[in-house]
């Protein structure tokens, strides 16, 4: 059976059993992945799945379920069990009917036949990335290259009918030169915009440039975040914009609508579908059409991200970002600025430039106090020039303070998605003044 037929069967079965609201999503995925380290392939993977996700409500009682590889009989059993479990729940005062859908969904071009199926030669790309890294000065290279094809169908009791198919290719390269390391990545929904050689070269060049780090002192620095770091910061801002997080008291953006939360030059948008982006789709998990949402416009917080339930609570309409429980961003985009990286470096008297980071953790979600660790190439900047590489830094600051202290945004942006950045983000480089950088007691 086709996935739309499976979704339809689950929808009809649930309605037949008395559900008042049903969102039925069936997803078929095929993914290929090569992991490599020490210039050698370590494992090659293929994962092929079919899954059914069902949300249903009956008498204001709500439940969600997922089922593996459903066939006709299993769908009937699964739906019946879900209804029974739902009937035993307590009604929720937060229950909100699924939206009635009258509009067509935006289409997108996140699909490339060349990335579908299993025939593409990933080994060749891995080899290209490793060679480019080695030529750029690395002596060993690790990474992963993933392609995937996803076909998805949604049907809801609110009349939503949608199908989506997309592909993606993601390469993450980490190059080493002695103890120094550099990171490069390339991600795209199509083969045309995928560049493994550039990602490998970038990683190798950073590794070479960060050999022989010099001492530095902890203190307050102006910080240049290259796109990978910007994307990590921004994905957290995007998640804090979830109305569920706000309503749960877990966001520094709470009570800030129409208030200044950043500088005039900073605008953050979210798109379900955007040209050049990936991972988004034309509808959310409630079947509501996705769209462009301006989260922060010229420094002012304009909206939270909503599903129907949070929208009703906040007295507004859905923004097309459901998650049944927790709304989430699809593709985050920071508007470009006017500077080049070189311009930014020239602006800095005492600063550091960070190429990537990991392990972002918050002390207080309501104040946005957090720290994160630059993990590959990082450089000290003095009097407008890169002075030398540095290691062992920790950015120890807060998101609201950093958003308020952005002094420059680059005109160049790139799409970022990797292990640390789960929300695809079109990120520029940013110059943030007066950031606390700490180091460990040795």
């Amino acid at each position: 059976m086709e996935i739309i037929e499976l979704a339809d069967l689950a929808l009809k079965e649930a309605l037949k059993l008395g559900a008042t609201d049903v969102s039925s999503i069936c997803v078929k995925t095929n993914g290929n992945l090569i992991r490599f380290s020490n210039n050698s392939i370590t494992v090659s993977k293929n994962i092929k799945n079919l899954e059914l996700f069902l949300y249903l409500a009956k008498d204001k009682k709500r439940i969600m379920g997922s089922s593996s590889n459903p066939n006709i009989e299993e769908i009937k059993k699964f739906t019946s069990n879900l209804i029974k479990a739902c009937e035993a729940l307590s009604p929720s005062p937060d229950y909100t009917p699924l939206p009635r859908i009258e509009t067509q969904y935006l289409s997108h071009g996140f699909y490339d036949q060349k990335l579908a199926g299993d025939e593409i030669d990933l080994v060749e790309f891995v080899e290209g990335a490793i060679d480019a890294s080695l030529r750029a000065g690395a002596n060993r290279v690790a990474g992963s290259l993933m392609t995937s094809e996803e076909n998805l169908a949604i049907l809801t009791s609110g009349n939503a009918t949608g199908q989506d198919k997309r592909t993606k290719i993601l390469l993450n390269v980490r190059a080493f030169s002695g103890d120094a390391s550099g990171h490069g990545l390339s991600c795209s929904s199509n083969l045309k915009n995928f560049n493994p050689y550039e990602a490998g070269k970038e990683a190798g060049e950073y590794a070479k440039a960060s050999i022989n780090p010099n001492p530095w002192e902890e203190g307050v620095y102006d910080l240049i975040t290259l796109p990978t770091v910007t994307a990590d910061i921004i994905q957290h801002v995007g998640s804090f914009a979830s109305a569920f997080a706000v309503d749960s008291g877990l966001s520094f953006l709470a009570d800030k609508i129409n208030q200044k939360v950043s500088v005039n030059d900073f605008t953050l948008r979210d798109y379900g579908v955007i040209e050049g982006g990936f991972d988004g789709r034309g509808f959310d998990d409630e079947g509501f059409p996705t769209r462009e949402n301006v989260i922060i416009e010229e420094g002012v917080l304009k909206t939270y991200l909503h599903n129907s339930t949070t929208a009703k609570k906040f007295g507004t309409s859905s923004t097309g970002n459901a998650g049944i429980i927790d709304p989430h961003p699809w593709n985050l985009v920071v508007d470009p600025g006017s500077m080049s990286i070189d311009d930014m470096i020239r602006e800095v008297k005492k600063g550091v430039m960070v190429t990537n980071n990991w392990y972002t953790r918050f002390q207080n979600l309501r104040t946005g106090e957090y720290s994160t660790i630059p993990r590959d190439a990082a450089f000290l900047i003095e009097n407008g020039k890169i002075k030398h590489p540095v290691v062992g830094l920790r950015i120890s600051d807060s998101l609201p303070r950093q958003l308020a202290n952005i002094t420059a945004i680059s005109k160049e942006r790139r799409w970022i998605k990797w292990w640390e950045v789960s929300v695809p983000t079109l990120a520029p480089s940013m110059l943030i003044k007066s950031v606390v950088i700490t180091k460990a007691l040795g």
């Binding site: 992945l33 380290s37 020490n38 799945n49 079919l50 593996s68 590889n69 299993d118 008291g249 309501r366």
Partner: protein, 476 residues
Amino acid sequence: MLLSVIDLAQRLGAEYAETRLHRTKQLGCLLRNGVPEPALIGDAYGIGIRVIHSGALAFSATNDLSKENVKNMVEKAVKRARASSPLLRHRVLLSEEKSIKADWKSEEKKSVDNVDFDDLFGLLKDIDNLIKDGKNDVSFPNRLLASSILLEEKIYINSNGTMMKSRVPRVGFSSYITTFYKGKITTITIPSGYSQLGGSGGWEAIERLEIFDYVEKEAENLSLAVKSEQKPPKEIVDVILGPQVSGIIAHESAGHPGEADRILGREAAQAGESYLKPNDLGIKIGSKEAHVSDDPTIPHSNGFYLYDDEGVPARKRKLIDAGIIREFLHNRATAYEFKISSNGSSRATSYDREPIVRMANTFVEPGDYSLDELFEDVKLGVYIKSFMEWNIDDKRLNQRYVGLEAYLIERGEMKGTVKKPVLEITTPRLWSSVDARGKEVEFLGATCGKGDPIQGIPVWTGGPNMRLRAIRLGER
């Protein structure tokens, strides 16, 4: 079906094959300010297949268990392994291990099969009732409580003759709470540090974990902690770390760097490497009081197992013994590289994840001090009982833990609370500063992330109160 997978892989020329039917069933509940969020039922069931062909490793997984599809997945795995050969500079070989036949499970007095949403939501409502009115003039206007059941069932066989069946149920609780006191808003978690109360076993685990007492006591203590405005001392002080903090340190600063796949560079691109090199067994990393172990066999633990996902018997591993790096965590591939037997550290979270080297229950071993004795000769110090923010670099050298519940110690006595003391310290300095450990070990549940695609695996982190000498703390 599983035998036919092995048979086909071998007929296609694989020198090694294994397959795992793996089911993870989940029930999850969220209660927000006393109101239920949609309940969750998850059921993931499928097959994972690993083959080694000409020294190349491949992994295939699917939840389509039709004969034709499974056959196709085996063929694809072998084909992919073969296709790796142009870029295979290092052959994957496995340590020799005894084949086993085993059917094992964790103790389960009240079967999780009989647990329903009434039980899970009922638990959360009872907990919410304990804390909803706040404590000590601190209100808790937002309370997000979560409870879960996770049942793992596996059938595993490999081409070395091992056959194994297992069942491990787990229960878990976690929470996010927003506290409000005189205009100051702080988010906390119970347990602290975004961790969980959890363990393996049936529904009786809820009683064993003493969740109600634990949450009420934590809510009481943390309500006092969030009022604190006292900065930590600027001078060099002694620091006593509570079990929650020593536990996360054991995991991050001793467990992760001791994973042999990191040491060999296999995780370099994402989860990272280690400050330890393959020939670092026997080096000194800490004082004689630094003792860290990992033990999957602890009954009722979150990371409980008796055989790993390569069919190797589990056993306790001493990672740091009196300050000396004593043992790494191994699967069969890393064990081969080190010319030893595997110590059974290979685990996968789901049928569609490859087994990789993982911690189980990593903890600082107990010492022989009471808490009073640890405090006794501290002239000026800070007791960091719990934490929120933490992180560590990918070589596991540079780490930070920021206190949540913390107290000033003066002349051996606990004085008032201290606000957000920051312990930011290198791994050798940390373990070298340990001079005493408490008698009682406490454990918390956690989900540890590693691998690509990422795998969040259930573990325990644990430890006793642990004293560090001569530390300079930072502040937030």
